[in-house]
């Protein structure tokens, strides 16, 4: 297999000017990351600062109703409220050990931006975060958090002014500032070595989940399920289970409103292969290869591409990729909150929604482990808006 590829997917489709920093990073991945100094420090930070291992919780109430065991891998309980911190602590530490004083990131909903700003504050790095101007307005709370953490937030006014444009701006900034700055990519996507680097830092999710299942019930889960935008929480949850054939792996993409032809965030189900942000992977695009705007109720899934390792798991059939739409995700979010007292992020709610929608197909007594990638406090405003819109629609009809 070609270097940096997962089957046909992946690669390094970047301007030549970005090849030297990517090659430098690749070397750091080989020389620094496996070393004892890096691993010991990261292990300590993950335990005492991030709060790992995160619990694996059996939903007491929902499981009874469903007739099978619904387990939640509680990444929402990690510091800053999502799995993103696993990656940013790793890349932050790597930035330090590469001798670079600055770290830079793109962010959509602001979760990766907050996680990067947090790692930067803790590790003493300068931090700059690119965020689409539309997202800056939608996620004002996270912008404020990043600023309090000492980061500079740059609103991106080009293109659709959302996540993909923030990535474009971040890549441009990196071209000019590669000597001093590490680009802390937020998901297991982009040019090699990011898909592998980010997966390595996130795969602690699945390693812990496997061990916790063995301790609690003495067997592997029958299903592991996670939402997929770029796909970092999902590949983190899945990776440990890929060689274990008895475990069914299910990724859940965001179907948007679910109406035929609507904007969505489901390139594996509804897209076609193309090249964007340094990788060859399924994309939402026109026949001419122009990237289409994506949509999801959850800003964190709102992306027209997907990480190349998911593309390969999809192509090989090792993992199945379903979809959940905005309404299903919202219902799952409300249900989990009311029944279990856990308010999940709208991203993670897509994974829960897939389980609820497929409850009749899942064998009674099965163990289903869902990655609850983040908490939903950040989404309360969007939830209220969506409920109000639903109510006025019901009144009209």
């Amino acid at each position: 297999m070609k270097k940096g590829y997962f089957g046909d997917f992946g690669g390094q489709f970047v301007p030549e000017l970005l090849m030297p920093p990517l090659i430098e990073l690749e070397k750091a991945c080989e020389d620094i990351v496996p070393g004892e100094a890096f691993q010991n420090t990261l292990h300590e930070l993950l335990a005492d600062y991030v709060g790992r291992p995160t619990p694996l919780y059996l939903c007491r109430n929902l499981s009874k109703r469903l007739g099978f065991n619904l387990w939640l891998k509680r990444e929402d309980l990690a510091h800053t409220g999502a799995h993103k911190i696993n990656n940013t602590m790793g890349q932050g530490l790597l930035t330090k050990m590469m001798g670079k004083p600055c770290i830079m990131a793109e962010t959509g909903a602001g979760q990766h931006g907050v996680a990067t700003a947090t790692a930067a504050a803790m590790l003493g790095l300068d931090c700059i975060v690119f965020m689409g101007a539309v997202d800056v307005r939608r996620q004002a709370h996270n912008v404020r958090r990043m600023e309090l953490l000492g980061s500079k937030v740059v609103p991106v006014e080009s293109g659709t002014r959302t996540l993909k444009d923030a990535i474009n701006a971040a890549l441009r900034y990196w071209i000019e500032n590669q000597r001093t700055t590490h680009y802390c990519f937020g998901t297991a996507a982009g040019p090699h070595p990011f898909p592998t680097l980010v997966r390595n830092f996130q795969s602690i999710i699945g390693r812990e989940a496997r061990q916790q299942m063995m301790e609690k019930v003495g067997k592997l889960p029958d299903y592991v399920v996670a939402c997929v935008g770029g796909g970092s929480n999902a590949i983190g949850m899945f990776h440990e289970f890929i060689p274990l054939d008895s475990v069914r792996i299910v990724g859940v993409e965001a179907a948007g409103t679910g109406e035929p032809g609507c904007y969505n965030s489901a390139p594996l189900n509804l897209g076609s292969p193309g090249v964007l942000h340094g990788m060859h992977t399924p994309l939402l695009q026109t026949e001419d290869g122009q990237i289409l705007p994506s949509h999801s109720i959850s800003a964190g899934l709102d992306y027209p591409g997907v990480g190349p390792e998911h593309a390969e798991l999809h192509a090989s059939g090792r993992a199945a990729y379903g979809m959940a739409n905005d309404d299903q995700a919202l219902d799952a979010c409300l249900e989990l909150t009311k029944v279990e007292g856990i308010l999940p992020a709208l991203e993670s709610s897509h994974a829960v929604a897939w389980v609820l929608a497929n409850k009749d197909k899942i064998e009674p007594g099965a163990d289903v482990a869902v990655c609850l990638s983040g908490r939903g406090d950040k989404d309360t405003f969007i939830i209220e808006e969506a409920l109000a819109a639903r109510e006025s629609k019901e009144k009209r009809s």
Binding site: P15, E16, L17, M19, P20, N168, R172, E287, D288, Q290
Partner: protein
Amino acid sequence: MSAAMIESGLEAAIRAAAKEGRLALVPFLPAGYPDKDRFFEELDQLDQGGADIIEIGVPFSDPVADGPVVEEASLHCLELGVNLGWIFDELAKRKGRYKAPLVLMGYMNPFYQYGFDKIADRAKEAGVAGLVVPDLPLEESFDVRKTLAAGGVDLVSLVGLNTSAERLAEYAAVSSGFVYFVSVLGVTGVRNALPDEMLEHLKMAKQAFDVPLALGFGLKSPEQLVPLKGLVDAAVFGSALIRHIKDGGDSASFMARWK
């Protein structure tokens, strides 16, 4: 097979300028800019105004290696409905009209969706002699280079200030047509001065390549060309030409400044 074995129209055009003791001039204009009709008037003016090669931009929704001026122009052309099919159709209608060989410059995805074999097929009828693809570095370029070569189309390599001697040598082994040297460690069209460090690096690149060297990205005034004589063979203008047209000028008056 070494690309040097095939007679390249791009290389010949630049060598011809050198014989006249001058830098070859390579203007860049996004296809369909400022509108679909005027674009071809501008193309005529560029060709008659002394362009040695003309670069035509293929618009893309996410141009990561371009600055704001080119991006805005490119998105404008997308809104006008410009795509590769239109570009090839229109150029084919004008076959033989231009003295200057044409180069298409654009991002990987639109070319990839159209198909490199189809591009290789249609290049001759459209007068297209080369492609510049900023997000296709050496490692990903081998298959594309081969497909294009079958249609007599050069894949122009891009290198920059941070390209090591080793990588320059690797590019030199596969390059044909000319090589594009990106003048500053930044995106197109946002810088004023030419850094000193660049002069050293240009010498290194000139030694590494047999094919001519073109300097691009960020050229603003004819005075900037003076220290480059002997170091490079051609100069590419992108943002400066777009800005000139946007401010009410035309390609003829633009070319007159640089000749």
